[in-house]
Subunit: 321 residues, 2 copies
């Protein structure tokens, strides 16, 4: 929620001269994005987002992220589209940082969602999975099972400071998943971070996805599982089966799920809850005293993980099975 790198008008005008999008009318730093600095940019030619990639983003991943957005947009999937410099490159340098300009995607993210929004999300997610199928660059998922134990180890045995008893529960889950994680499921490019603030709507209709900076190659069902956790639990922790049904039905109407995928869904939902439990626990115990940004509550993910552990059939998610 901050602009980490300040850009001055002269440097930006020089940078813009490398593009064919007219000259600068205005730019404003926007309070969005935890990882990067973002500016909303007006030129003679239209409205854009300028992103400066900060240190937490591995610059070697940028061709994947920008290439993916470009690929999806070319397939008609609604997402920010990287603008090329006259030289053809999508990635430049500004204020000492890797930087890119993408088209501005209209839409607002929903603070409260209804089942019909989850249906929009599900159909959009399936469309994204199909549109990304022939994208040729790959990026492994750093936050799947092999990445979880290092993340847990980085908590230095302090997980119980976030939630008493958490260490033991995480260790049990890690051991379980290290021995029971399905492979050979249908895979491709997944977004891997489709929380509500990355999904835009206009008048109750999906207008597109943003923030592809966790995108990677993995089982499609991992993406669905993340959405189940991010969209289908109420603030009090209760699972909303109507939302899950809407999401899954809409998804399968666009891209049917195989029997293997359906069977694996509860396990992936439990695993994706663990993945966010781990990063939130890490952030919780490493949170600087008095910092402006409140860390997200790991308790939410723990409850979800326990919920999915008890699920024995995808029928629990509202599917006829």
């Amino acid at each position: 929620m901050a602009v980490y790198t300040q850009v001055d008008n002269e440097a930006l005008e020089t940078f813009l001269s490398l593009y064919n999008i007219g000259s600068l009318l205005s730019f404003k730093g926007i309070a969005e994005g935890v990882e990067n600095s973002n500016y909303l940019l007006h030129t003679d030619a239209g409205t854009y987002i300028l992103t400066l990639y900060e240190k937490r983003v591995d610059a070697s991943d940028l061709p994947f992220f920008l290439g993916l957005m470009n690929h999806l947009a070319a397939k008609g999937f609604a997402c920010p589209t990287p603008v090329r410099q006259s030289s053809g490159t999508m990635l430049g340098t500004l204020a000492g940082r890797p930087a890119a300009i993408v088209s501005f995607l209209e839409g607002v993210w929903l603070r409260k969602s209804l089942p019909r929004h989850c249906a929009e999300l599900g159909a959009g997610l399936a469309a994204m999975h199909i549109a990304g199928a022939d994208f040729e660059v790959t990026r492994p998922n750093a936050l799947s099972v092999p990445g979880w134990r290092p993340l847990y180890d980085a908590c230095n045995g302090r997980a119980d400071e976030a939630i008493p008893g958490l260490s033991q529960e995480i260790e049990q889950e890690l051991s379980f998943f290290e021995q029971n994680w399905p492979t050979n499921l249908p895979s491709g490019v997944i977004h891997a971070d489709l929380f509500p603030d990355n999904v835009f709507f206009i008048h109750d209709k999906l207008s597109g996805f943003i923030d592809f900076y966790f995108a990677c190659n993995d089982a499609f069902v991992y993406d669905i599982a993340i959405c189940l956790n991010a969209w289908c639990f109420e603030r009090d922790g209760a699972f909303n089966i109507s939302k899950a049904r809407s999401l899954l039905q809409a998804y399968t109407q666009v891209r049917p799920l195989s029997a293997d995928e359906l069977t694996a869904l509860p396990l992936f939902a439990r695993g994706s809850a663990l993945r966010f439990l781990l990063t939130r626990t890490y952030d919780w115990i490493n949170h600087p005293e008095g910092a402006l940004v409140r860390p997200k509550d790991p308790r939410e993910c723990l409850k979800q993980m326990r919920f999915h552990k008890d699920v024995t059939s995808p029928a629990a998610y509202g599917l006829d099975y």
Copy 2:
């Protein structure tokens, strides 16, 4: 440099329904403004700024500020124009805060200015003074001589913590100004905070002024004095007489200065340096440890104050006199 109050899409949509500017397409919190929360807003009808007024702004002043922007815009002066609700009011309530929507003013603020930009500023300032002449609401300048001593007293004798010896120098200046402050100079609405970040340019031409939240009634020469300090000193503290000359010549071509105003200019320049020295000293000694925003350096104003104290004629500002 922050968004203090979070707005959710539903509350914003309800708020927008009070206006005739179409429905919501997107909104982004922008990292501008120290006092208020600002959002850049897209609707079917165009681009706007939504401002939520935070506690540091006295709500009883808002009709003056909004009325002034409305008045200036109606006179053809380029500044954000408040949008009226269907009921006619320019001021509403959103997320528990007084809130207004204004038109979006294109332009960038200059991190480095040249004499030609100072000429644009001078001509614009004179045009604003003329356009505001018949605005009928008034607001006294809380940061003129009578306001300075309370501000100094609020520093609790700690000014020397900012700059050794500062207390004594401020006390001498306060006593001097309390006995030697010209009255009866041509007066009207002044902006009172025309630092570079409040002055927008497109392709080296002035596109308008923003942030009228210090505007008040006072001598026009006070506004000119603030601009001399804000625009005509280099980073190393050196006075740039070419910039001052450009600013003043362009101003006087639009609104000639009387002999009294010219004579008073060095005193107002010295006084306006003291005014910002006082607020910066207060902010410096009351700055929370480790806060994100670095307080502005009061030393800059002190040097300016000393410079103007030695000026014996407006010829020092590049005017033929």
